[in-house]
């Protein structure tokens, strides 16, 4: 656990990480359904006036309801910043892979949106560890690229989106 980043953050060796490749998680559920407030807070941040996010009449006519911005996909399964329980906040699989790196940064993302995610949908995600690279040196520091694939489902079992993400788990150059 790292207090610095606020998530359960696993440490270990590259060999530990490689042994985890292929691991697939049980479904992890969002604490709440997708809300208009979250949709519009995100759209306001991006300054995107698309009526699919703002106009319930237009969005219902066109899509069946207010649409969650596709770019918010990963955020819909991030737990709130504080929970009123002793249970740890469980973050995505990628940062729970045991590796030496003390921090991370995202490197690439490939998302496919099969059907629109709408206000009221309650999502779950199943994550798989696809690969962990051997040690690499970049301008930021020394570390490993961690590739995961996430499948997002609606309550009724419909697959709504897939998300292949690669992050760089590293120790900053000044600290290594």
């Amino acid at each position: 656990m790292s207090a610095d980043i606020g998530y359960e953050f696993a440490f270990g060796s590259y060999e530990d990480a490689v042994r985890m490749v292929g691991a697939r998680t049980e479904p992890r559920f969002a604490g709440t359904a997708v809300s208009a407030a979250r949709i519009q807070h995100f759209a306001a941040m991006v300054q995107d006036g698309n009526p699919s996010y703002w106009d319930p009449d237009f969005a219902t006519r066109e899509w069946g309801g207010l649409v969650a911005p596709p770019a918010l996909l990963m955020g819909l399964l991030i737990p709130p910043p504080w929970l009123p329980t002793e249970a740890p906040r469980v973050a995505g699989l990628a940062i729970r892979v045991p590796l030496p790196g003390t921090t991370f940064i995202n490197a690439s993302n490939d998302a496919e949106f099969l059907i629109p995610i709408l206000e009221g949908d309650r999502l779950s995600v199943v994550e798989e560890l696809v690969s962990v690279s051997p040690e690499k040196t970049t301008k930021l520091g020394v570390g490993h690229f961690v590739e995961t694939c996430e499948s997002f489902y609606r309550d009724d079992g419909t697959l709504v989106a897939t998300n292949r993400n690669t992050l760089f788990r590293f120790t900053p150059a000044a600290q290594s």
Binding site: M74, T103, D110
Partner: protein, 141 residues
């Protein structure tokens, strides 16, 4: 805009968005991504960054905005591939330059899908390429 009204190749209008500290903090708040590099300048500096920076979701949202502002609200992002080559920091601008590279019919499923492929490059105000992306939009005819 309909699929029939689109021609390839074609350039989209350039979009510039100034990223203030408030926007970066909103980024953490709206996505619930409280990685401290997105809100704590001291942490960001300790990791080798000049200050706090936006996350992948913010850049993705900007890419989608560039695409659907142009194609209209009846278009839908069905796929987005992006690589993060550099960070967008508080005080930077995101500059989106995009072009249509292909239009095609996808007949692999029961209903034909009318698709348009875009290349979207997100640079900072110094012209440094921070995030090359490919976006596929679905439109009606």
């Amino acid at each position: 805009m309909t699929w029939d009204e689109i021609f390839a190749p074609a350039d989209l209008p350039e979009v510039v968005d100034e990223i203030t500290y408030q926007r970066v903090v909103m980024n953490a708040a709206t996505t619930w991504d409280y990685f401290p590099g997105h809100f704590d300048p001291a942490y960001a500096r300790s990791q080798g960054h000049p200050t706090i920076f936006v996350n992948t979701m913010h850049i993705a949202g900007f890419i989608d905005r560039v695409a659907t502002d142009w194609a209209g609200p009846r278009s839908r992002v069905v796929r987005r591939r992006m690589r993060i080559l550099g960070s967008i920091y508080a005080g930077d601008s995101m500059v989106g330059r995009a072009r249509v590279v292909e239009k095609r019919c996808d007949k692999t499923s029961a209903a034909t899908r009318y698709l348009v492929d875009l290349e979207v490059n997100v640079c900072n105000q110094r012209g440094e390429l921070c995030c090359p992306a490919e976006v596929t939009l679905e439109l009606s005819r």
